[in-house]
């Protein structure tokens, strides 16, 4: 019992307090909650015999991400509930310089996207590839999740 009091409980306290302290210092994030793709895929329809155009891009500032941080931060991104054959890429459009498209997967853990420091507003653009007639018609509501962490 004494051993518990002397070693384990202090260790637990340290882990909790430090853990809480780190979390309190962690950067925070908000993002545009909803975004409607500007192009209705299949409008206008392709000519008979032709497939849909392979790619489709969103607006240049499809989603705005507000990061609040006191130090350096990193941003991870992942997607979920996307039609399996569709590929999603993302790039930073502001602040400059504009980034290159990076494919987003639904793998866990989320992939590194960008990094920075201090309070930052980031806008991103999406690109769909592998758009095809193979995707059944309908309205899809997939999600993109952003994670900010201290570096």
């Amino acid at each position: 019992m004494k051993r518990i009091v002397r070693y384990i409980i202090p260790a637990l306290l340290v882990s909790f307090v430090c853990g809480a302290g780190i979390c309190w210092a962690t950067s925070s994030i908000t993002a545009t909650p909803n975004y409607s793709w500007p192009e209705i895929i299949g409008d206008p329809p392709p000519a008979a015999g032709s497939n849909l155009p392979n790619t489709s891009e969103s607006d240049s500032a499809a989603v705005t991400i507000n990061i609040t941080a006191s130090g350096n931060w990193g941003l991870k991104v992942e997607k979920s509930n996307w039609p399996s054959s569709l590929h999603l890429s993302i790039k930073k459009t502001s602040p400059t310089p504009v980034g290159d498209y990076q494919e987003v997967t639904d793998s866990y853990p989320a992939e590194d996207f960008i990094s920075g420091s201090g309070d930052t507003t980031v806008t991103v653009q999406f690109k769909l590839t592998n758009v095809s007639i193979q995707v059944p018609p309908g309205t899809y509501n997939p999600t993109v999740t952003f994670w900010v962490y201290d570096k």
């Binding site: 009091v5 409980i9 637990l12 306290l13 909790f16 307090v17 853990g19 809480a20 979390c23 309190w24 962690t26 950067s27 925070s28 994030i29 908000t30 993002a31 545009t32 909650p33 909803n34 975004y35 409607s36 793709w37 209705i40 895929i41 299949g42 409008d43 329809p45 392709p46 000519a47 008979a48 015999g49 032709s50 497939n51 849909l52 499809a62 989603v63 991400i65 999406f126 769909l128 007639i133 193979q134 995707v135 059944p136 018609p137 309908g138 309205t139 899809y140 509501n141 997939p142 999600t143 993109v144 999740t145 952003f146 994670w147 900010v148 962490y149």
Partner: protein
């Protein structure tokens, strides 16, 4: 001492749980994307004239075929549904049965093979089980089979109407 430990544990637990509940390092955006339903069908070319030539004595004239036209389609459907292509001949030829075959490549549907137009203005299935696919050039083959000897004639062109429709 025990009281102090209890207090510290409580504070740490509350702080830890409160932090876990915050989770403000994550943000999710829901993207809405609409894929329209597409059903496009087109034929290319005009079939040549099918000329029935004189047979040998005692026989019916030979079957004539024509395969210069093609068909293209693009189609997507809801899960579990398919489409089909039907053909309809506006009016029949005298003494001749016109039939047609529409090919369908792998994954482009199922060809019904040679289908005769035995009744006027009636839709016959030529390709079925068309799912989400596009095909730029499938061959249409027309075949004229003389069924009975009739007086020579040159008929005006007759129209075959092709339709891409839900397969129900």
């Amino acid at each position: 001492m025990k009281i102090l430990i209890k207090i510290l544990i409580s504070v740490a637990l509350v702080a830890g749980l409160a932090t876990l509940a915050t989770a403000d390092n994550v943000a999710t955006s829901t993207v809405t994307i609409t894929f329209l339903e597409i059903a496009e069908l087109e034929t290319t070319g005009t079939p040549g004239t099918l000329t029935i030539t004189a047979p040998t004595a005692g026989a019916l004239p030979a079957v004539q075929t024509e395969a210069t036209t093609t068909m293209a389609w693009t189609s997507n459907v809801d899960s579990g549904k398919t489409r089909k292509i039907t053909g309809s001949l506006a009016s029949l030829f005298s003494g001749i049965t016109l039939s047609a075959t529409v090919t369908a490549g792998s994954g482009k549907g199922t060809s019904a093979g040679e289908v005769p137009f035995t009744a006027a203005a009636t839709a016959y299935d030529f390709v079925t089980a068309i799912g989400n696919c596009n095909t730029p050039s499938e061959t249409i083959t027309f075949k004229a089979t003389v069924t009975s000897m009739v007086a020579p004639y040159t008929d005006t062109a007759k129209v075959v109407t092709w339709t891409l429709t839900d397969d129900v």
